[in-house]
């Protein structure tokens, strides 16, 4: 009996480990977009000069009307955007969680800076 | 005792290697400003044309062993089983401090990883992949320049040429394994679209896979037996195309006898299928493509095949090895830019007097993203008894680039 319990516990542990690996190791693609968008009826204009950093990655410059790609691992992330607002450097930092089942997300940087709802949304490639 | 032996053997091996290697490095250092170019090809039994291209370069620039510039090595014949050997062959070239470029033709599986390793160690070496076997996205991520034959443009151009020759039916011979290759499957789709648009009938015929149980002989036998029936069924004005090299020879042989057209092979060369099908001996002309073409053409005409059989005047494998080697050399000397199409064509043209080249950058069908280091090229089609068809001048309609 003791043995059965220990064995099922070990099996469970293995299963949990697998799930742990699955969730923490799941890679996602995040598209960082610097285009003028309309979110919730408001238009957010593209920003001229802008640097963005996801988690502890390197800072990358996103030009106007450009879209770059970042690969991230796991569910909880932090995005840091540094931009010039009328000559003053401003930093926006946002934490967000993404779903494991969704491979790709699109982040609208103007939306993020403007504080719009829905600055992050799932993105699917049309097959 | 065993453990001692292990240590002993290791020590001896290392000692031996250090002593000798020291010697060899000294020997190399007196050649001044020169640099080396590594060429990796298959062997004669696997892909003769590629190897002859390397020999052409050695003829011109000398081999490293004799104080020249070209270091030529080969990958294993059964490269699908010995990926580790392929990798160490390529990575081994980077051990030479004077190595400045590595050209792999054909870039069989393992090339990408080998390139990654070379890059980690020696970022200064130019890495060029000719006729990449691995997935385009994979090889693009590691190579400085990757070359494939332009399966997209040729998908349209072969049909176009066939049309010009007066063909009304196009038969595509292949088998499931080949149709699992992205490039081959995509070309087939373009063939079908182009043929339909030009009012030609497109037919897909399945033949046995030579790597399966039937073997090469069985597959060839199948072609020998089926071609007359196909001609009977689809008529004399039918062009044939097959994706497998082994199928080519029996196909040509039967087409010469029973009628039908053959625009060009999958990897076109005057040596592809023709010598065997025509029963001609080309050993005297080895490596001299104008002479080879002349002899093949004469025999074709003699057998009544004028205007029905085509090829590229210069072997694709041969020119790719030689052309890429030359291109790498030009780039290192500062005479060319690596990713400039016209510079690449210049290097290719050196080995193909009289034949025109054209090409384009590879565009991923899924995302529509154009790769800046992956070039697809093609040579003018040469129809025997008719001459060059001028395919590089033909404009390929935009829509075919997105056919999946």
């Amino acid at each position: 009996m003791k043995r059965i319990i220990i064995r099922s516990a070990a099996l469970l542990l293995l299963l949990l480990l697998a799930l742990f690996f699955f969730y923490t190791g799941k890679g996602h693609t995040i598209l960082l977009d610097n285009k003028t968008v309309t979110l919730g009826g408001t238009e957010y204009a593209a920003v001229n000069m802008l640097e963005v950093r996801v988690d502890r990655g390197e800072e990358r410059e996103v030009l106007k009307r450009d879209r770059i790609k970042e690969d991230v691992v796991g569910q909880g992330h932090k995005i840091t955007v540094t931009y010039l607002d009328k000559g003053v450097e401003k930093v926006v930092e946002e934490k967000f969680r993404i779903k494991t089942g969704q491979a790709m997300y699109l982040i609208s940087l103007p939306g993020l800076i403007g504080g719009a709802e829905g600055w992050i949304e799932p993105f699917d490639v049309e097959p | 005792m065993k453990k001692n032996l292990f240590v002993f053997l290791l020590m001896t091996a290392l000692l031996a290697s250090s002593v000798y290697a020291g010697g060899s490095q000294e020997a190399g250092s007196d050649s001044g400003e020169q640099f080396h170019i590594g060429i990796v090809t298959g062997t004669v039994s696997q892909s003769e044309d590629d190897l002859r291209g390397a020999e052409r370069l050695i003829q011109e620039y000398g081999s490293v062993a004799d104080g020249g510039m070209i270091q030529h090595v080969t990958y294993p014949d059964n490269f699908m089983q010995e990926m580790e050997t392929t990798m160490s062959q390529i990575v081994g070239l980077a051990d030479d401090p004077m190595m400045k470029a590595i050209v792999v033709n054909q870039a069989i599986p393992g090339t990408t990883e080998a390139f990654r390793r070379v890059r980690e160690k020696r970022s200064d070496i130019l890495l060029i992949a000719g006729e990449a076997h691995e997935d385009p996205a994979t090889i693009e991520s590691a190579a400085d320049l990757a070359i494939n034959n332009d399966f997209v443009a040729r998908g349209y151009l072969i049909i176009d040429t066939a049309k010009k020759l007066g063909v009304d039916t196009f038969v595509h011979i292949s088998f499931p394994r080949h149709m699992s290759y992205e490039t081959l499957a995509r070309r087939r789709a373009i063939f079908e679209a182009a043929a339909t648009d030009m009012g030609m009938k497109f037919v897909f015929e399945t033949a046995p896979d030579p790597t399966s149980d039937v073997g090469v002989a069985g597959a060839q036998q199948f072609i020998l037996e089926k071609v007359p029936a196909w001609i009977d069924k689809y008529g004399q004005n039918t062009a044939f195309f097959c994706t497998n090299d082994a199928h080519t020879e029996p196909l040509l042989k039967q087409l010469i006898e029973y009628g039908g057209y053959f625009v060009e092979a999958d990897l076109p060369s005057p040596l592809m299928g023709y010598p065997g099908a025509l029963g001609i001996d080309l050993s005297a002309e080895q490596g001299d493509f104008p002479a080879i073409l002349k002899k093949v053409e004469a025999t074709i005409k003699e057998k009544g095949g004028a205007g029905r059989f085509g090829t590229w005047a210069y072997s694709y494998g041969y020119t790719t090895t030689a052309g890429l080697g030359q291109h790498a050399m030009n780039v290192i000397k500062g005479e060319s830019e690596l990713l400039k199409m016209s510079d690449l064509m210049k290097a290719y043209a050196k080995f193909t007097p009289g034949a025109e080249w054209n090409g384009s950058f590879y565009t991923d069908a899924g995302t529509g993203v154009r790769a800046d280091n992956h070039i697809l090229i093609y040579q003018d089609t040469y129809i025997m008894g008719k001459g060059y068809m001028g395919t590089p001048e033909v404009e390929v309609p935009e829509k075919y680039f997105t056919v999946k």
Binding site: K2, R3, I6, R7, A10 | -
Partner: protein, 533 residues
């Protein structure tokens, strides 16, 4: 369970292998602490009896047995030796069942090792327990002590002298806690005299502790010395069952060999020879289980020379060594010419032929037809039965000649078969033996070794085989060396007989000597002066 019931009782045990009766109405009993001596010639049924006791699968596979076996008054019938072991019956085999690469300790405790707990057992079961080497060592030492010998428990079996192997095996049985009955099958055969003495002593000690022992031995001296009761088996029947103190070696020997009276009648005529043909000097042969240690022989031209002796003493090693089948050394000369050893080809080229005791593995190509088997050696060695094609460029098999020769021997030896094309494996044992003989006859050797020619064949076939050999000898003048475990068979055909004991010749006598003399030689009773001519 009644306390007065004997420990083990066998009642009317009967066994036949497909009609060939090997045991008939065998009944006996053994008490606790009693030592029973079981003697009999090879093939008398001792081994079969023990196989029945232990429930070896071969018994069930061949139709079971008749009669019943009672252990402590309860009828038992074992399906496998393991069940017998569980009931406390242990067996020390004649052939070593030890693992050569394991140490004495590991062998003694095989599958009964002491182990320690570790956590992995919870996950993967008890076999994940680690071995407790220290505990194993003490247990092994204790068991060895019980046997009463000095034995390094850390020596691998492969590096042990034979005697120690035997002791290891006995120690293994004694290590089992509940052992009540121990069967020792010829345990002293491989031991030196002093070693045997130790063993006998420990047997006595065991019997005092209440362990019953069935002691199978050919050394009658030991039987007399140690057993409480003697049981003589012959041809599957109990011939004699007496308390040991009421009998003697001569009586037992006679009961064992038995057939002396009628065998005397058809003795071969006495022939004399004086041309030495085959001379063997200081031969040793490394044949497992049949080691030849030091043998010198002189055999005359045209003679039929018998070599006898008990199983495992080395008589089979002699032909196998001379013919180059096993590593051998010493000197072998034919008509003065030295024959290189360890090379079967040389032996065959010297016009010697060998009919092996191992019909199934060495002697016959079982999947091939009779005619092929008969002609094979001739074809291989002497390029016979081949006809030249294209002016001798190739040689093809001459099927006609092969068939002719096959038919000839089928007729001469009365091989019972449908046609010469019948496969060898479809023949009965006796007929297979005849094919083997025919095969040897075809090459027309000067010297023919015949090893155990009548093993496992019925009486009628035996006679034909022996008569054929005799006739062949008389007709062609071939020197024949016949090796057999059956003394009477040797006596009926041979001119002289050598008896091999412990890898040495214990004596050479004319076949006309009474069987008792040979029996004593076999049992190593007589000092090996003998008549070596």
């Amino acid at each position: 369970m009644s306390q007065n019931a004997p420990l083990l009782e066998m009642r009317n045990v009967t066994k036949d292998f497909f009609g060939n009766v090997v045991l008939k109405d065998v009944s006996f009993s053994i008490e606790r602490g009693e030592i029973l001596g079981l003697v009999g010639e090879n093939g008398a049924g001792k081994t079969t009896l023990m196989k029945i006791l232990f429930g070896m699968t071969v018994i069930q596979d061949t139709g079971g047995y008749g009669g019943e076996i009672l252990l402590e008054g309860k009828p038992v019938s074992y399906k496998s030796p393991l069940e017998a072991l569980d009931d406390g019956i242990g067996m020390v085999h004649q052939e070593f069942s030890l693992l050569p690469g394991f140490t004495a300790t590991e062998n003694i405790l095989l599958n009964r090792e002491s182990t320690n707990y570790n956590f992995m057992t919870e996950l993967f079961g008890d076999r994940m327990r680690t071995l407790d080497r220290a505990e194993m060592k003490t247990r092994a030492e204790k068991a060895i002590e019980k046997v009463g010998v000095k034995l390094d428990e850390n020596t691998p079996v492969s590096e042990m002298p034979v005697g120690h192997k035997q002791f290891t095996e006995i120690a293994r049985e004694l290590e089992k806690e509940n052992v009540k009955l121990l069967v020792l099958d010829e345990p002293t055969a491989v031991l030196t005299e002093s070693e045997a003495e130790i063993l006998l002593k420990s047997m006595r000690k065991l019997s005092e502790e209440g362990i019953a022992i069935i002691f199978i031995s050919h050394r009658l001296q030991e039987i007399i010395e140690i057993t409480d009761k003697t049981l003589v088996l012959r041809d599957g029947r109990i011939i004699q069952e007496t308390p040991t103190d009421q009998t003697d070696i001569e009586e037992i020997a006679q009961a064992m060999v038995g057939r002396e009276i009628h065998a005397e009648g058809d003795r071969a005529e006495v022939r004399t020879f004086n041309a030495p043909h085959l001379i063997v000097n200081n031969l040793w042969v490394d044949m497992p289980g049949e080691t030849v240690r030091n043998i010198s022989l002189e055999i005359n031209k045209g003679e039929i020379f018998g070599i006898g002796g008990l199983a495992g003493q080395g008589k089979l090693g002699i032909p196998n060594g001379i013919m180059g089948l096993y590593p051998a050394g010493g000197e072998v000369r034919i008509d003065g010419k030295t024959i290189p050893l360890n090379n079967p080809r040389e032996a065959l080229d010297a016009s010697m032929a060998f009919v092996s005791e191992d019909r199934r593995d060495v002697g016959l190509l079982l999947d091939e037809p009779i005619d092929w088997n008969i002609s094979f050696t001739g074809m291989q060695m002497q390029k016979r039965f081949l006809k030249p094609v294209l002016g001798g460029l190739f040689r093809l098999r001459d099927d006609k000649a092969i068939e002719d020769i096959a038919n000839h021997y089928i007729e001469a030896l009365e091989i019972k078969c449908m046609s010469p094309r019948q496969k060898a494996k479809e023949l009965s044992g006796g007929n297979q033996q005849k094919v083997c003989l025919a095969k040897a006859f075809v090459v027309e050797p000067d010297i023919l070794f015949v090893s155990e020619p009548t093993r496992g064949i019925d009486v009628g076939a035996k006679k034909i085989v022996l008569d054929t050999l005799k006739e062949y000898n008389r007709e062609k003048g071939t020197t024949i060396i016949i090796i057999s475990s059956e003394l009477e068979e040797l006596r009926s055909i041979s001119d002289r007989i050598a008896i091999v004991d412990e890898g040495r010749i214990s004596g050479i006598l004319p076949a006309s000597e009474p069987s008792k003399a040979f029996g004593l030689l076999m049992l190593g009773k007589v000092d090996s002066k003998g008549d070596s001519k």
